[in-house]
Structure formats: C-alpha cells, structure tokens
Symmetry: C2
Subunit: 324 residues, 2 copies
C-alpha cells in the first residue's frame, strides 16, 4: 500500500501518476478537507473532488477544477434567483455535491460518502478525507479574516496572507481509515500541493504528525515550488507572507520532523546541498507534470526513490525506539 497526501491540482496530478503506476487498490490518497464549504446549502469538498475526478478521468485539466466538458446551466439559473455565482460549479459537478449533502444528511461519514463515489466511478484507489470532522481553513490578512474560498476563489488570492488558522481542528480526530492506511503504508508521499493550505491542514489534524513520525514507511515530499515559484497557486506568496523563504528548503523545514526524502526540480539543484546538510535524502529531477506521461514518469521516480530509502541503513537508525 502506498499513501499519498494531497490537496488540489498539483496533488491530484501526482496521485494520478501513482494510481496509473500501481496495481488496483494499492493507493490511498488522504485529502485536505480544510477548504470544504457550504454553498446553496450543499457540502462542497473541492480537493476531494479534484482527486476523485482526476482518478476517474473526468477532470477538466485546462481549468484545474471541475469536470471536463461540464456546462453551467444550474449556476446561471441560481444567478437568476439572485444568488452569488463566484464559485464555478458545473452541472455534472453539482450531482456530486447534491449526493454528498444528501448522504451526510442521512448520517454518513464523509469517508463513506467518498467511498461510494469511488465505487460508483470505478476508481480503484481510496480517497480518504483527513478527518470526518468539520475543519475550516481561515485566512488572516492585514485587514481581517477570510473564509478560505472567499480568499482563494472569490477574491482571486489577491490578499496578502499574514496568518491562518484551521477552525475546528482542536476537536477533530483522524479517521480510522487514515490511521490504518498510514500504519500499513510501504511509502508515504506528500504530493506537490500547497504546503500551507493543502498539506498544512492534513498535518494539523491532532495525531497526524505523531503518526507520521512513528511510521515505518519512508516519507517523501515532492516540492510544489520550482525556483521559488509555485506552479499554479499562491504557495510562494503565502510562504513569504508567513515569514518563510519560498523554496524547496523551506518545504523541507515544514516537514522536517518526519521527512526522509524530498524531490526537487533540476532547476533548484543548488538547493540540494542545503537540504542534504539536514540529513534528508534528495532526488533531483523534472517535477513539472505537463501531461499524463509526465505524471507517470514522476510517480515512477518517486516510488523508486521510496524503495531505495526503505533499504537505506540511515532510516533504520532514525527510527530507533519507534514501533517499526
């Protein structure tokens, strides 16, 4: 079993590469639910759905969200009723939110809802929400707080982020399925998702970092930055706003208490020395996934990197005293 931690677009691409590389039922993707929100009374899980649609080969790869070829009649009609329509929900996409809302309302856990979706769409990977409890990423700016989608979609990430909190996180618990997946994993891969608002909330769920620290499997992060810049989202600006250098080395720092290896881009090779000094293994390669082949290639390299790390003696010593 391989476990991937993922947020939205970048994460789903590597998750897709892993899914294509692995045998059916070998992959579990733990997804961020910190940017889940309610719209029109419907429960929307953007990161889970991006991963779901990507693995089901339904994703719109041009926009990075939603379903390829989707139409927007429902949204337009909601606008005619005077509703705000800044979050682009397609007609086919609505079916996911309608069913999730119905099933949550009937008492299902989010984990079970997602399992019903992967089953129906014949996705042979598990998509596990980081928690079945409600957690909401709140963005702090110089002028006040913003709900995550307000910041990210409605205001087009135009605000400078000076801090953030995960509302509800203190009372949230890791799902049993998340715990079991990590304990059984042969490799744990942090996908190239935003470290602050995608991977960050997953790591903030109480017990998650402890679980990773005591995991027997090698843990590898794929940097979401190339030459200090995020590929799609404001991760670089967010890191800077939070007082961190936007670099692969900074990514490594965020994960340093459990990380065994990091995958960085060739263009950042100068950073590899800095990172190596932290006794973290480094794989330098092309981390940009331009197409399906690129996803498979990077996934293959990451899996091989993980296998090599598992063999390495250094790992065994670092894990002294842990359950593994």
């Amino acid at each position: 079993m391989i476990v991937a931690l993922a947020g939205g677009v970048g994460g789903s691409k590597l998750a897709d590469g892993l899914y294509r590389r692995l045998a059916p039922d070998e992959l579990s993707v733990i997804v961020n639910t910190g940017d889940d929100f309610q719209m029109y009374g419907l429960h929307i899980s953007p990161d889970a759905d991006t991963v779901l649609y990507t693995l089901a080969e339904l994703a719109n790869t041009e926009t990075g969200w939603g379903i390829a070829g989707d139409t927007f009649e429902t949204l337009r009609a909601l606008g005619r009723y005077g509703e705000e329509t800044w979050f682009q929900l397609g007609d086919r996409d609505f079916s996911t939110h309608i069913l999730r809302t119905q099933r949550l309302g009937a008492g299902w856990k989010l984990t079970r809802v997602l399992e019903s979706f992967t089953d129906a769409l014949q996705v042979r990977a598990r998509i596990l929400p980081m928690s079945d409890d409600s957690i909401a990423t709140v963005i702090r700016t110089a002028t006040g707080e913003l709900a995550f989608q307000d910041y990210f979609v409605r205001r087009h990430q135009s605000d400078d982020v000076v801090g953030l909190t995960y509302a509800g996180i203190e009372d949230a618990t890791l799902g049993r399925e998340v715990r079991e997946a990590i304990e059984a994993a042969e490799a744990i891969i942090l996908c190239p998702s935003n470290p602050v608002v995608s991977i960050g909330p997953i790591l903030a769920v109480p017990g998650m970092r402890d679980l990773l620290r005591s995991a027997t499997a090698p843990i590898i992060a794929v940097s979401p930055l190339v030459k200090g810049q995020a590929l799609r989202d404001p991760a670089d600006r967010m890191l800077a706003g939070l007082g961190r250098e936007p670099s692969a080395a900074a990514i490594d720092e965020l994960y340093s208490d459990f990380l065994d290896g990091i995958v960085i881009d060739r263009q950042d090779s100068v950073e590899s020395e800095r990172i190596a000094a932290l006794s973290i293994s480094v794989l330098t390669t092309d981390i940009i996934m331009r197409d399906i082949e690129g996803r498979e290639r990077l996934a293959g390299e990451v899996l091989e990197f993980a296998r090599n790390l598992a063999k390495a003696a250094g790992r065994a010593s670092r894990r002294e005293g842990s359950s593994g």
Copy 2:
C-alpha cells in the same frame, strides 16, 4: 383580488391566462403541494414550480413540466453515480430545488420560499402553497399503496386507482396567506386541474371547505374534462376508479357544497341541463387552451362569468347567515 386554485399543467394555463388579464398583484394562485416529494435530498414541489415557470414565461409548454430548453447534465451525472433518474429534473430546474431545500432547511416556510422565487423572477402574482405543512398524496391500487410520483411518473399512471389518502392532512393547517386571500377575493376560480389529486388535496386541508362555503366571492370551477376525457392526465380514469362518472357533472358534485358556477365545454352542452338542475350556473364555451391567446380568452370569459354571478340575486340568498 382574484384567487385561483391550481395543480399542474391545466391549472397553470388558466392561471397564466388570468395573470395576463389582470393588473399586477391582483392574482393569488393557491397550489397543490400533495405531490411534493424528496429526491436526492432535495424538496421538489412539482405543481408550484409548474405555475411558477408558467407565469415567469419559462415553462416548457411541449412537455408540460420543467423549463423550456433545459438540459439534463446533472441528472445524467446522478445516474452515473447509480441513482434512479426516472423523475426528469433539468439543470436549470435543479436550481429551484436546491434553493428551496436550502431555504426550508434554514427554517423558511414554503410560502416564503415561493414568494422569494416570484420576487426574483419578477412574477407579479402570489403563488401560495395550500399549506406550509407536509402533506403527501398516497395512491391506493388493487395491489397496494404508491407514493404519488411513483404512480404518476415512475409507473406512468398505469395502475388502476381504487382510493387515495393525503398523509399528514389531519395535522396540516391552512396558511394565513391562503385564508386572507380567500377572504379578500372577488372571485375564486378552480382551475381545470385533476379534481382528485390536484384540487382534491387543496380542498382536503382542514378548514378549506368551510372557508370556501363562507366566502363572499363567487366560486367557479372550470371542468378539466371534455366529453368524459381529461386532456392530459388520468383524471377520467381516476374518477372512474373511485366510482364516479368521469363527467363535468361529476366535477360539479365534488364541489357542490361551495360552487356557484361551472364552465364546461361546448361539446358537453348536453350536460348543462343536468347541472342546471342542481342550481349551479353554467357557462358553456371552448375550454381547451391551445395557445396563449386561448388562455387569455378563457380567463376573460371566466372573469366575466364571475362578475355576472356576483351580481346575481341567487348568490346573496345562498349566502344568508354568512359573514358576507
């Protein structure tokens, strides 16, 4: 103020004719909610929506339900998730159900939800649910009971109806707005909707028949039958199944305790004598509404018929002892 009682297609056509004939804000349409139901966790009010879409000039006049030009991407996607899709909900139509569900969930009454819809779509008539309480028409067949939409849509009205009940009706109350509209009405018109499953539930709400019996305004029914046949729905077969002759005279009987006049088709003129014997006034005309002009024409004739009845002395005597 003119009040119309209406179910689905036939009722909405005459309501539309009245709306076009009257000044803005002069019309209140009391709609059947006995065939409301839940689908995918959404609250669907088929009759209210047919009236809403018709008055908003959005209705699909070819099918008799839904919105003209609507698409069905959401429904198809729900099918891909393994859901039943026998109730045809269009993408634009979904917006209505999503918002209604959200607003009911937020504690709004159905009356207020419909008011928000007419406001948004700039419909200058009130569409009043017969009750804000949940009432469900249940169809009894030789082999058992069926929820209304199961009978009507899923099983294409193929079962013989031997009886029916309105679940929840004992505990339902008339809305304040319904009561006030009827008390203030200058004419009350029962549209040519199915007398059993469209007008029937409205009349079955506790207090409704008393309210009509004591109303000062003339009450007129437009027959939904021509030569013993319903124009679109199984009203004729339902009446027969319930042991009633499917005829304009039978319609009159159903409403005899409060009816002042009935509008029947020229092709049924032979019936007018039978009805006249019951001391009910009869208007014989063309009751089939083939197009918008036909709706306006019939509405104009019905309104004139009502004015004449209001002047008639016979009415005053029948109302002796009432508040009027």
